[in-house]
Amino acid sequence: MKELMTGNEAIAHGVRLSRVQLVAAYPITPQTPIYEKLSQWESEGKLGGVMVRVESEHTAMATCIAASLTGVRVFTASSSQGIALMHEMLHFASGNRVPIVMGCVNRALAVPWAFGSDQTDTLAQRDTGWIQFYCEDNQEALDTVIQAFRVSETVCFPSMVIIDGFYTSHFMEPVEIPPQEAVDEFLPPLPMPNRFDFSVPAFLSNVVGPLDYFRFRQRSFSDMAHSMEVIKRVDEEFGRTFGRSYGVLEGVHLEDAEAVLITSGAITGTARVAVEELRGEGFRMGLLKIRLFRPFPAKEVCRLLEGKRKVGVIDRNISIGQGGIFCQELKAALYPMATRPLVQNYIAGLGGLDVPVELIKEVARDLMGRDREEGPIWMAEP
């Protein structure tokens, strides 16, 4: 049964269905409806978990980490300034190998102040050791929350389930709510043990020497690399159980594409339309959606772009001093290829600026007419 709901509500349903036991959160636009929906269900006795209304995002993450160590299932959500404020705690969570799932609603980071969608807030946390899923639409958001808990609790890394602020979070779409029993079977209620062992007490996460630090980081790196397989398996199993799967990447019309647009998040939905239109106009355009950003699917990307001549990466984000972040990561992933495509970076949609079909078609036309790479091209409006 499908229901009309916003992306925020979809995430909230995912949290409820996952039988989350503790939510510690702090309000920030455009995340607040998630917080409010969960609070409303808590007061109606429908949530099953307990809401902890904390006094800052940093504390929210701190509380989640601590609770997660006892083995209970926890969730939080934030955006922009809140995610930035949590930065210390994001490293802390990953280092503690706790399976927290956080709903991130992309929003521009100040300064300047703006409230629309911009991926820089979550991408700026790419070094913190979190798994990052960039969701295209409301259904994917709900489904990814459930998948994320399963993945995190298997590999012991926290995950971000990321949607665009306003475009996904506040826009209504029809969403299928999976049945609770099916979710229960897919995601067991309490798979994690209490890390506090009362029979043989231990001091957890205390100071280590340099060599031990090196080794723990090496272990984390290796574990994160192996989580790729787990992520794929879980998604496949989800597909078999619920009839929907998303993969870590999704290729559209790649077989005969001469030029490929690479997108993530809500822009992907618009790009699908643009690519169809361009193909109708006779252009051999392809589209590659990047869903999993961390761990970065380097091998998969190389395989899919094998033989492609031109690639245009649309980044709704910017790393000042370098360029668009998806583009950077992609270039690094493509580097080992014997023959590399031309990769051109397009910056669009920062601060929630609309990225309409026309703009994407302009990007595509520019890409196709291009024989040389240059620095990031800033596309404000069509």
């Binding site: 280092g95 503690n96 190998r97 298997t154 590999v155 012991c156 043990p193 890390r195 043989v200 007490p201 231990a202 001091f203 957890l204 996460s205 205390n206 280590v208 031990d212 723990f216 272990r219 984390s220 574990d223």
Partner: protein, 559 residues
Amino acid sequence: MELEALIPVSRISTEGFRTGQWSPRKAYHSEKVSPCREACPAGSDIPEFMCFAAEGRFDEALKEILHENPLPGVCGRVCPHPCQDHCNRSNLEGAVQIREVERAVAEYGRGLPQRGEGKVGGRIAVVGSGPAGLSAAYFLGRLGHRVTVFERQKELGGVLRYGIPEYRLPKGVLQKEIERLKALEIDFVTSTPLHRETILSLRQDFDAVILATGAWSPRRLGIRGEELQGVFYGLPWLSSPSTATTDPRRIVVIGGGDVAVDVARVSRRLYPEARIVMVAPEREGEFPAIPEGLLEAAEEGIEIEGGWRPLEFLGEGGRLKGIRFRRCEVHRDPDAGTYRITDLEGERIEEAQMVIVSIGQVPEWEVLPQGLKQGHIETTPWGETAIKGLFLAGDLVNRKAAVVEAISSGKRTALGVHLRLLGDDPQKVLSEVKIGGGRAVSFKAFLKGTSKRLDRIAEFSEVSRYLFPECPPIRPGKLDPGERKFSFREVKFGLGKEEASHEAGRCFNCGKCTGCDLCFFLCPDLAILKGDPYSVNPDYCKGCGICVEACPRDVVEMR
């Protein structure tokens, strides 16, 4: 996924780190002597018995006192308490009323001393049943000797019975104290005066003879009129107060010592209407008597005048009529032991029908064997004389003339006799059980050995000022002066059981580990090990010294 390996999980205990190696300084628990004990001529282990008394365990407290002092009921009433004058608690809000607690322990404690099984089992004669004689007999009995005490009076006690009045030391109390001694199978032979030759001949039937006959001969003034009727002398008069003078209007007591005070106060009770005045050459406030005695005397309406000495007794028809006094002042040098009276300008005549001269006592030299140098007898610290087999104890050898000094002397003499009979060297052995810098020796240490450092005195711990809440001493009540004039009832009330326990609880127990656990709880490194005795674990003691600071009893020290 094996969770254990993902994050630092630290299980190994830090106990493997011997942080004691950080410093060569280590703390030690070393019990010592309390300053009150050092000051006590009998060497009573006050902190020990205070522990028991504080918990209401009076039987055990009594047993503890009896290790060093056989007459706690007596001392608990009449002792001038040098212990209290050295009490460390006086640095806080007031000395512990040790004497009152001792009295309570003697009152409420039950139990008898045990006669020892002596290897030697000598036969010892003690001449005199005053405090020194009783003390010597007691300790010899505890060591397993057969003791016979000869007493010339009908009753036992010496100065305790015949010198200290009922209102200060009730005869019933004295009797109870003496009864306790009978458990030691001592033979008491009363109404048997001995003198010179009979004393010496005792050495044929006994392995040693201890002379503890005291000082019963009163000093004379040597002034005109001393032979008049109505002139009496302190100690003899106290033994049997004469009421020969009917209704004296004015009574003068010459002297400023404790005997003089007692004489004045007994007179007050015999002659409630008379005007009684104590006159001494010292300034008021410098009388040698214990201040509390003078205070009680003043409460009973006895006048006190200082700075006069009698020149002559004036009579009429052979009876005393008055006394001529001369203004004077006294220069006393306690170290040199000198005492000099200087006359000043001014004379007066005081009317009096009765005068009692109490200016001190000396031994009755004519009763004692020749060969003992008159005036000042040479003895060893344990009373041995130049005459073989003859030992001395008590006022015979002491200048101080206090009951507790006599008890101390009796103890030392007993031990000296015992050691001589064993063939040991009293000098060496007694120096091992000497307490601090005083005269006292510890009988308990002699008998059972001790882990306490008898040569180290516990100092006041400064933090005690702040560690303990103020808790003023409980002073017992006294009989109302109005009533006292007409009765020989005991003037000072004793402490009740709870009061005594409470007062004993104020004792810091200097030098004794009471297991209060302050050092234990305050050690940052858990290096104090509880036990009997407490000790310090050198593996973890970093030598910080907090335990030394913390111990209010100066038991913990740093080396």
